[in-house]
Amino acid sequence: MSQPFRQIHVRFFAILREQAGVPTLTVESAAPDASALYAELQQRHPGLSFPAHLLKVSINERYVELTTPLAAGDRVVFIPPVAGG
């Protein structure tokens, strides 16, 4: 069940941006879901050490599961623990 490669837009905030060294990037990825995508990104950006199990994820500005399937053109944001207020 290998996925075709498609463009995914990734954005980082806060500690993730500092660890990745970039605020945004567009990747060609066959990752089926956000969880797999984060693992891929950690390969490319070894500084990205924030533990995956503490992350939430949004796709197209909605909180979703880490296992929600990705589609071409999705805007994905990995969300470290928030601190509003």
Partner: protein, 487 residues
């Protein structure tokens, strides 16, 4: 209404926007940058937001709050950028007719903001060091073995392994009323990973007698939503999903699939039958309770473990039962639903911990008036038209009807047929509910006559007399006399 701003927050201007002649209460919360955090001095804070989503999520929070607390008007502003000590980072104002809803709504907004708003803060210390709060400072202090459930995890029957099972579990609760309120709060306290609450009702004043998650501040709010808000405040590490609507043949399979345990906290037979059959088909354990006045029944149904709901008292149709024996809207003793609801939580926890042993094979009848508990074996009938033919049930397609009795008929239940009569038995001085055909429990001659004429269903106030008379009439050769029970 929610706003994100890079400008200093002007409290007076925001307050002026909330002025309304019908509002008797104005409740304001301001979160300010303070000069210390977790014991360290702080010189300034930088707030970074995921703008687009923060606006969407903030608006969702304020809109939801106005729905949970009817009559409130909510305004919330969150600051971004660099803030010095004493500056406001977040401002929440609630205009409401009464103070109760104002306080509750204000607290709801700030708790949800803290949990959901994609905003991060970077803390600067006098030595020039800086760190992302919540990413490092507070994440590091997130309790792995949460103190909240420590007294439960200390039980040898639970332990760290059992606690991990609970944290990984998903429990679905159908109905957040007299049973669902106590059941869900004890499950939240136990540290269940994910609770899903399903209820299409709104909170009424007459609910407060026994629906302990709610207060006068939430009157008119959707039950599922208000209950979820309270449970999150009770144990923030539990994920709570609310579904504002009823269980229907359309959504039943989707809601039940993937759950570790399901709780039947409904007050009508149509939903009860639908839920039971769906759980049976999908192999998800079901903890079912029902209460009539001072008495309740408790059952754990599991595929292949003891009898199902249809093994005994066969041929019952939800529509008939709901006419004859449904207690929705009727008198009820608060502690009776309370005890049964807490017991449902206990049975769910036992199932998740692998500690249920014999409970699936028994019905428990608990009477809060005389303090008695009766345990009745619930063996599987080898010829049960439902649980002995699971393949049929599993193959059944969800049907587009709201009357579950049709759903059941479609899956193979032998209905009693159109000639069946239904009688409510009364004792001297007691009257039957309106619209129900009744007979004196003492008039055995008439009962024998009716039983001889064709299928007969008996019911009565506590279900004891009807069961005894049905047994008697069957023993006399009337094979088609049944007594209704509530489970």
């Amino acid at each position: 209404m929610f706003e994100l701003t890079a400008q200093p927050i002007d409290s007076a201007a925001l307050q002026a926007r909330l002025t309304a002649p019908e509002a008797g209460a104005l409740t304001i919360f301001e979160g300010r940058v303070r000069n210390h955090h977790l014991g360290k001095p702080v010189t300034k804070l930088e707030y970074e937001a995921f703008d687009d989503m923060a606006r969407l999520e903030g608006e969702a929070i304020t809109t939801e709050t106005e729905r949970i607390y009817p009559g409130t008007k909510v305004l919330c502003v969150h600051r971004t950028g660099s803030l010095t000590i004493g500056e406001a980072a977040v401002w929440i104002g609630i205009a409401s007719a009464h103070r109760q809803a104002g306080f509750a709504a204000c607290r709801h907004v700030i708790e949800e903001i803290k949990l959901r708003l994609p905003v991060w803060k970077k803390e600067h210390h006098p030595d020039g060091a800086a760190e992302w709060v919540n990413c490092t400072v507070e994440a590091a202090t997130l309790p792995a073995n949460d103190e909240l459930t420590a007294r439960q995890a200390a039980l040898p029957e639970v332990g760290a392994a059992g606690q991990a099972k609970l944290a990984a579990a998903r429990v679905l609760i159908i109905g957040v009323g007299g049973l669902g309120c106590p059941a869900s709060v004890y499950l939240a306290g136990a540290g269940i990973g994910h609770l899903t609450l399903v209820d299409g009702g709104k909170i009424e004043r007459s609910n407060l007698q026994r629906q302990i998650l709610f207060t006068t501040a939430e009157l008119g709010a959707p039950k599922a939503l208000a209950a979820a808000a309270r449970l999150r405040l009770h144990n923030p590490s539990v994920r709570v999903t609310s579904h504002e609507g009823e269980l229907t043949p359309h959504n039943a399979r989707a809601l039940v699939a993937g759950q570790s345990v399901v709780l039947d906290c409904t007050d009508n037979f149509a939903t009860r039958f639908l839920l039971h059959d769906t759980c049976l088909a999908l192999g998800v354990p079901l903890v079912s309770a029902a209460v009539h006045r001072f008495e309740g029944t408790l059952d754990v149904f599991r595929q292949g473990h003891g009898g199902c709901l249809h093994c005994h008292g066969q041929g019952r149709r939800a529509a008939d039962l709901d006419t004859a024996g449904n207690c929705a809207g009727g008198p009820v003793f608060g502690p009776a639903v309370g005890v049964l609801g807490v017991m449902q939580a206990a049975e769910a926890l036992k199932l998740l911990l692998g500690r249920e042993r014999e409970s699936p094979r028994q019905s428990r009848l608990i009477n809060l008036l005389d303090g008695s508990q009766l345990t009745i074996a619930r063996e599987a009938r080898p010829d049960c038209p439902i649980c002995s033919r699971l393949d049929q049930l599993q193959a059944a397609k969800p049907v587009a009807v709201s009357d579950t009795s049709l759903f059941l008929a479609a899956t193979g239940v032998a209905a009693l047929g159109p000639t069946a009569q239904s009688l409510y038995l009364t004792e001297p001085g007691e009257s039957a509910p309106a619209g129900v055909t009744s007979a004196s429990a003492l008039d055995l001659a008439r009962l024998r006559e009716v039983a001889a004429a064709g299928p007969l269903v008996l019911t009565c106030r506590y279900g004891v007399r009807s069961a005894a008379l049905a047994r008697l009439l069957r023993a006399e050769g009337n094979a088609h006399v049944f007594a209704l029970t509530q489970s």
